[in-house]
Structure formats: structure tokens, C-alpha cells
Symmetry: C2
Subunit: 215 residues, 2 copies
DNA sequence: TTGTCAAGAATGAACGTTCGTTTTATCGTT
DNA sequence: AACGATAAAACGAACGTTCATTCTTGACAA
């Protein structure tokens, strides 16, 4: 018995070909899913978009669910990286700069092939899928929890640097900043006419507010 | 010939009964759709949840799409009313109070039968449906545009009252406030452990920030 | 008040279609 | 020639919807 039977025989096409096919499928499916959602998109739709047959696609992904999971994980990874990179900057940038970096990276850099709105739509579709897929839900909650902790540390750094005149709970403020980012992504998905600079201006406006009735 | 043949005979059951049935179907379907989304929920699921037969449901709604549309419109109406009521208060409340009123009303008052997370999940599902249903998409964009105008006026009122030390574009700031609300709804849907008071604290934290490098 | 009856309300099995997936045949590379 | 990669047809299952039928309601005659 040849050892190659254990480790597998050489593939008939190059690894680069296999990788390219896989990416071709994922990108075509992403476009379909962003457009119509995971469940209103049929495998036939994906096959047509990828210009591939059923047999070809099912060689790379064992099921539609696996394809959905792969695409969701891809989105998770991109978003989490963007959030963490932005938070790692020292000294901590002001919220408008911080969110600008996160959203600039998420909506522009992560998907070179697709436009920002397509990716934003995919993100919203992934949100809904996490509501019914416990595995995806756990992944999302885990990532969100980690992000909240990192950003809460950032809020503490604001206070220590004298940039924040308030004893606000760092976790509350982290959640609020993340909510602003999520809302921006939702608007990008739903309306498509948003600019990161607009959100940044709005945040600076909020930071410039004061209550005349307060001390 | 009796005149009743012209205006139609009396209904065999009371209008109250018909209204109750219709509400029963809508609420059962809302629970299903919030749980699994519009397309991963089968009519059989809805029938089971409503404890009704197919024929009964199809007497009240001509198709699944019509049921989806009715539920989406219902969510639109509730949300738009919450936003506009909050903005009509004079003098304009600070953003934390404003968003607290919107979200308190949207997530608590609008759906007495369902809990806040169920309604939030339904809202996110409606978002994704507007991406593929042009009719719903137009309704959403129309409502969002109206909301932006109302809230931009509110930002102008802030400035005139001396509560906002910035020449920020009112529309940018309106979008940002709405984004915060949308992000909160997303978090309520996805994680379910959010409190409106937390968002309000976070907004007050943002308003208490200042850049030591700036003038 | 009670009994009768037409019509509306509700049922659930069955329909045609489309789904995700599998199987079979062909192509292309080594 | 051999075998993996792809195409294309075909599969059972599940979908939304329909329809022949049964149940229920309420007006009206007695």
C-alpha cells in the first residue's frame, strides 16, 4: 500500500485553481445573498451567478448551509479585524476618528471585488441568519463580547487622558459607539447614500452638545 | 328584490370576530417571522402557530407575500409614530432623552403581546426584506427621508437654543442619531441584553467628551 | 322561545412547482 | 489510459396555494 493512499493522491489541477474556484463560488454566492438573502436565494441562482454546475459547486461545499456558514465567518473575520485594529491605535483616537477607521476599513478594504453597499447588505443578512443559526449566533455574541471589552478599555483610556468628563459606565459607552457603527452599516445597506464623513460630523456634533439646564 | 341584495347581506360572524382572527394570524406570523425570518418560515409554520387551517388563513390574506407586507407595514407605522412623537416635544429634549423616548415607545409600547426582543428581531427581518421588495423599500426610504427632515429641524432647534456649539450639518447629525437608534435595535435583536438607560448613558458620555488637542 | 336553513367560515388532503441534493455521463489534464 | 473536475439530468422532499367538503353562525318563520 502506497503512503499516498493515506495522505491522498495528487490533485489533477493545481491548488491555485482550486483556491480560485472556491473564491469564485464564495464571491458569486455573496452577491446573490446580499441581493436576496440566504433563503430567498436558490442554489440555482448561485450556480448561474458563478457560471458553474451543481456538481462543481458541491465539490467545494457539501451543502448550502456550509456555503452560508463560510460566507458568514468571512464577514465576522473582516469586521472583527477592523474593530480591533482601530482600537489598538495609541493614543486612543476620538470617537469620530475611531469609527471612521472601522467603517472605512470594513466597507472599503475588506471586499475589493464588491462595493460597500453589497457588503453592508451581506452583513445585515448575516445578522438575521444568526437569529436562527445557533452556531453563528454564538460566534457573533463571542465577537461582540470581545469587542465590547476592548472598546470599554478604550473608554477608560479616554477618561485617564482627560478626554471624558463623565463617570459613564465604559461598557455602556462601548455599546453606544458600536451601535453607531451598526446603525451606519444598516443605513449603508438600506439606503446606500451614506458617507463615513457624515457620521463623523454627526459624532462631533454630539460631542459639541451641552445642556443649558445642567451645571 | 330586497335592497339587501344590493348592499350585501349581513356578515355571518361579527366584525369583531373577523378583526380578532386577522390579528390572531398577524401576531402568530409575527412570532414565526421574528424567529426564523420571512423565507425560512413556511405557511405550515404560521398555520401551526395560529392554530388555524390553510383555508382559514387564506381567507384573510391572499398570499404569503400579502401577510409579509401587512406585518412590515405594521412595523413601519409603529416606528415612524415613535420617531415623530418624540421629535414633536418642545423644547427639544437632549439626544439621550429623545432616543430614550423613541426606543422606549418602539420596543415596549408598540407590541403589548410580544416582548421587546421579538419586535426588534422582526424589525431586522423587515430591513432585509426591504432589500428585495421594492415596494417595501420605497416605503422605508420615504419614511426615513421624512424622519431625517424632522430630526434635522430638531438639530437646528438645538443650535438656536444654544445647546449645540458646532456648525455641523443638521442632516448629518440627524442621520447619526437615527443610526444610534438603529444600532440599538440591532443589538436588542441580536443579543437581547440591552437597556435603553445604557444607550442614554453612552450618549451622555459622548456629549461629555472633548479633544485636548482642539481649541 | 325554538327550529330551520342558507351562507359564510373553516378544514385538510391534494396539486403543481421549486427546492437542495445526488447520480450519471462527459470532459480535460497528466 | 486513468482519474479527478465538471456538466447535466433526475430525485425525493417541502413549498405555497387551491378546492371540495364539513362545520358554524345568525336571521327568520312559527
Amino acid at each position: 500500500m502506497n503512503v499516498r493512499f493515506i495522505v491522498g493522491v495528487m490533485a489533477r489541477v493545481s491548488q491555485a485553481h482550486l483556491d480560485a474556484r472556491r473564491r469564485q463560488i464564495i464571491e458569486a454566492a455573496s452577491r446573490c445573498f446580499a441581493r436576496n438573502g440566504f433563503h430567498a436565494t436558490s442554489m440555482q441562482d448561485v450556480l448561474r451567478e458563478a457560471q458553474l454546475s451543481a456538481g462543481a459547486v458541491y465539490r467545494y461545499f457539501p451543502s448550502k448551509d456550509a456555503l452560508v456558514a463560510a460566507i458568514a465567518e468571512r464577514a465576522f473575520t473582516a469586521i472583527r479585524a477592523a474593530y480591533e485594529d482601530a482600537a489598538n491605535a495609541t493614543p486612543p483616537p476620538m470617537p469620530d476618528v475611531l469609527l471612521g477607521r472601522v467603517l472605512g476599513r470594513v466597507l472599503v478594504d475588506t471586499v475589493p471585488g464588491a462595493d460597500a453597499q453589497t457588503f453592508a447588505r451581506l452583513v445585515v443578512q448575516v445578522w438575521t441568519e444568526t437569529l436562527r443559526n445557533d452556531l453563528l449566533g454564538d460566534t457573533l455574541r463571542e465577537g461582540y463580547g470581545a469587542m465590547r471589552r476592548v472598546w470599554a478599555d478604550l473608554v477608560r483610556a479616554y477618561r485617564e487622558a482627560g478626554m471624558l468628563d463623565s463617570d459613564v459606565d465604559p461598557d455602556d459607552m462601548a455599546r453606544t459607539l458600536i451601535a453607531a457603527a451598526q446603525g451606519f452599516i444598516a443605513q449603508q445597506a438600506l439606503f446606500g447614500d451614506v458617507r463615513v464623513e457624515g457620521l463623523q460630523a454627526g459624532l462631533r456634533g454630539l460631542m459639541a452638545m451641552r445642556d443649558p439646564k445642567a451645571g
